[in-house]
């Protein structure tokens, strides 16, 4: 297997707030290969967005990347190590700010943001913004950039692209704006596009159109994607491989089919169980019990043990890393000590009373799920 396009290794991002240090991303590792669509799934607050903004070094104060290494096409986007006092510092391998801005941002890696309503500057025309972006990143003249911009708009399915070029963002609907953002991301033919919940703000029919569009464009341009979402349906539809995040950690990594048919981590299982189905009424929904604990003070041991139906005493002490759980048959890794790969005392350990053990009976008092 060739070297991955993007490799994230043991990434740690922390937010230094007045209440304490929030460990938003706590040592995650994943990679993206050429032409691959990798999903990053989890509940709200799991650290998905922070993780992807760290890839482009867009984490803002009080947030800070305090550890780990991100490599892209053999270049080190960031590498942070700790000195003798435990103070994190950037190593010399990290490419400088100016170079990152000039060569990587926009040209090699593009981001599609969550809210299409907010991601376009309201005071400039849609075409003007697209044109500027192309001019900036592709060294074209203004006229050439304009032609490319109109063509890109056409390509993402904006009808009468030339006429809509001079419209302002508020004259576009949500789905159209999302198309514009996709056009913007694709315009410079980047190798990697990071899509941060791009369809969350859209209704399902538009969402389906956008997903089809992405699928088609991805095939044509052979662009790799990191797709952040909390929607298991979207994951099933477009992703090749999936990383499931919980409280700043990746708990399961698997090719998309294995994740759905051979789920290895109790959290993923619960997440899949909680997806609402049209044939279920509210009473039949299976939300995950409780809310995700604060990342300031994560539970000791396995972070999910407070809500896990399979939790046992041993889970309180061991925080498992992500390990291969299928003996190398597929690339399926999970961080749960119930698997043999971990060789812990799980089998002999007594079950924990987490309130989640006795099935998922829903009541108003206990069923607040944060999703």
């Amino acid at each position: 297997m060739s070297a991955p396009l993007l490799r994230v290794d043991d990434l740690e991002v922390q937010f230094f707030t007045e209440d304490g240090v929030v460990r938003a991303v706590d040592g995650i590792s994943f990679d993206v290969r050429e032409g691959e669509l990798v999903g990053l799934v989890g509940e709200s607050g799991a650290g998905k967005s922070v993780a992807v903004s760290a890839i482009m070094r867009l984490v803002e104060s009080p947030g800070r990347i305090v550890g780990g290494c991100i490599e892209f096409k053999g270049e080190t986007l960031i590498e942070v190590e700790r000195d003798d006092d435990g103070e994190p510092y950037r190593t010399d391998a990290t490419i400088p700010d100016g170079e990152l801005r000039e060569r990587i941002r926009g040209r090699e890696i593009a981001i599609i943001f969550q809210d299409p309503m907010e991601s376009l500057n309201p005071v400039f025309t849609v075409g003007g913004q697209l044109r500027e972006f192309i001019e900036l990143n592709r060294d074209l003249s203004e006229r050439e950039a304009r032609e490319t911009a109109v063509q890109m708009l056409r390509e993402v399915g904006i009808p009468e692209a030339a006429a809509r070029y001079d419209d302002y963002p508020h004259q576009f609907s949500g789905g159209m704006r999302q198309r514009v953002l996709i056009a913007m991301a694709l315009a410079c033919e980047p190798s990697l596009i990071i899509a941060d919940e791009p369809t969350t703000a859209l209704d399902v029919t538009v969402e389906a159109q956008i997903l089809d569009l992405v699928d088609e464009l991805q095939e044509r341009y052979d662009t790799s994607f990191v797709w952040v979402t909390h929607d298991m349906g979207v994951v099933a539809e477009i992703c090749d491989r999936v990383n499931v995040m919980y409280l700043g950690e990746i708990v399961e990594q698997a090719p998309v089919d294995d994740l759905f048919y051979d789920t290895q981590h109790p959290y993923t299982e619960a997440l899949l169980d909680s997806v609402p189905r049209p044939d279920e009424t509210v009473e039949e929904l299976n939300p995950i019990k409780g809310v995700m604990p604060e990342a300031i003070n994560p539970p000791a041991g396995c972070r999910f043990h407070t809500r896990c139906p399979d939790a046992r005493e041993a889970c309180k002490t061991t925080n498992p890393d992500c390990r291969d759980v299928t003996d190398g048959v597929t690339e399926h890794r999970a961080a749960c000590i119930k698997h043999d790969a971990f060789e812990t005392a799980y089998e002999g350990s007594p079950p924990l009373e987490t309130g989640a053990g006795g099935g998922f009976d829903v009541s108003l008092s206990g069923g607040e799920s944060d999703d």
Binding site: S61, N121, Q151, E155, Y221
Partner: protein
């Protein structure tokens, strides 16, 4: 695009209805044309706009006459065409600065009578204490009022915008240092600051103007910073960052245009304030120096003759009043036009 596909138009064509809806229902609510159309619907603001426009035209024409012709007059070649300072005024009427021989002083306007004589059509608004035509001096005084008012505001606006935008965008210690400096400036009374500025650099209209501009920097800086602080969190700013845009261009192209509306309104109102301040300085003798005509300085001279010829002081006072009120009316209208909550 490197790859041109013939089928590219077909992708996502199902969203056509989607698009048509939004085309017809909304008209552009940004840009100059829309704002001006909005101002036109408001009679008060439109009246203010007309007055400002007329005054500006007068100011431009008189500036050309007084400044450009003076420059041309230096060259002998143009002298034979009769080119000199106040050439227009002299051709049509009489010089606004030279004291004409034999003209009665302190004449009242047409149809009035006072101890100095009867008003004539030769001097519709009367003459001043040296026999100069008041109407002409008022016309030439417009130049100082508008030019100096606008330039002083521009200095404050640009200075305030840079300081406020940088301060709000970067935050942290940059913000602290710049804003504490601005507040220090803000703590000193406006007129005292301007007088101190003139005392330090010299008694001329240029320094008076710069002084007024500098003194109004904190007002603009604080105003724009308050907007920038919220605009910088908008997603299109982050999107621009992710696209590899330089900080300088993010501030210029994304942050400032989106923070500009309240500043524009403030600037329009500030022009009125600046005109009053400059007139006040001229009144005190710190601004424009005689014989150049200015409203404030005319007021200053006229106060000695208030009993004998009150008209002398009424006219420049009226001019200042009308201009300042016009700027305020226009500013109010602009505020309404730029306020999205009032647009429906």
């Amino acid at each position: 695009m490197a790859t041109t596909h013939s089928d590219s138009e077909t992708i996502g064509s199902e969203s056509v209805d989607d698009a048509e809806q939004s085309v017809s229902s909304v008209e552009a609510r940004v840009g100059w044309r829309y704002t001006l159309a909005q101002v036109r619907k408001d009679p008060t603001a439109f009246a203010g706009f007309i007055i400002i426009a007329v005054a500006s035209v007068v100011a431009v024409v008189t500036t050309i006459d007084a400044v450009v012709f003076e420059y041309l007059a230096q060259y002998q070649v143009f002298a034979q065409f009769g080119v000199e300072k106040y050439w227009l005024a002299k051709t049509v009427w009489m010089s606004p600065t030279a004291e004409p021989a034999g003209t009665p002083t302190l004449l009242p306007p047409v149809g009035m009578e006072n101890t100095f004589g009867q008003g004539t059509w030769a001097h519709p608004l009367g003459t001043d204490d040296r026999g100069r035509d008041i109407l002409l001096r008022l016309i030439y005084g417009t130049r100082i009022a508008i030019l100096v008012g606008v330039l002083a505001t521009a200095i404050g606006l640009v200075g305030g915008m840079v300081i406020g935008a940088v301060s709000g965008y970067y935050g942290g210690w940059t913000d602290d240092v710049l804003m504490r400096l601005a507040e220090t400036l803000y703590a000193i009374p406006f007129l005292v600051l301007v007088l101190a500025f003139i005392a330090a650099f010299g008694r001329s209209i240029t320094f008076a103007m710069i002084g007024v501009g500098v003194a109004s920097i904190p007002k603009f800086a604080r105003l724009i910073r308050s907007r920038v602080v919220s605009v910088r969190e908008d997603e299109y700013v982050e999107a621009a960052k992710a696209a590899g845009v330089r900080d300088r261009n993010i501030i210029l192209r994304h942050v400032i245009p989106n923070s500009f509306a309240p500043v524009l309104v403030q600037a329009t109102l500030q022009v009125g304030t600046a005109i009053i301040i400059i007139a006040g300085l001229s009144f005190l003798g710190f601004g424009i120096q005689p014989p150049t005509p200015s409203w404030g300085q005319m007021l200053s001279v006229s106060r000695n003759y208030m009993i004998q010829n009150p008209w002398f002081s009424v006219w420049p006072g009226l001019c200042i009043l009308i201009t300042v009120v016009a700027f305020n009316m226009f500013g109010d209208g602009l505020r309404d036009a730029l306020d999205p909550r009032l647009n429906n």
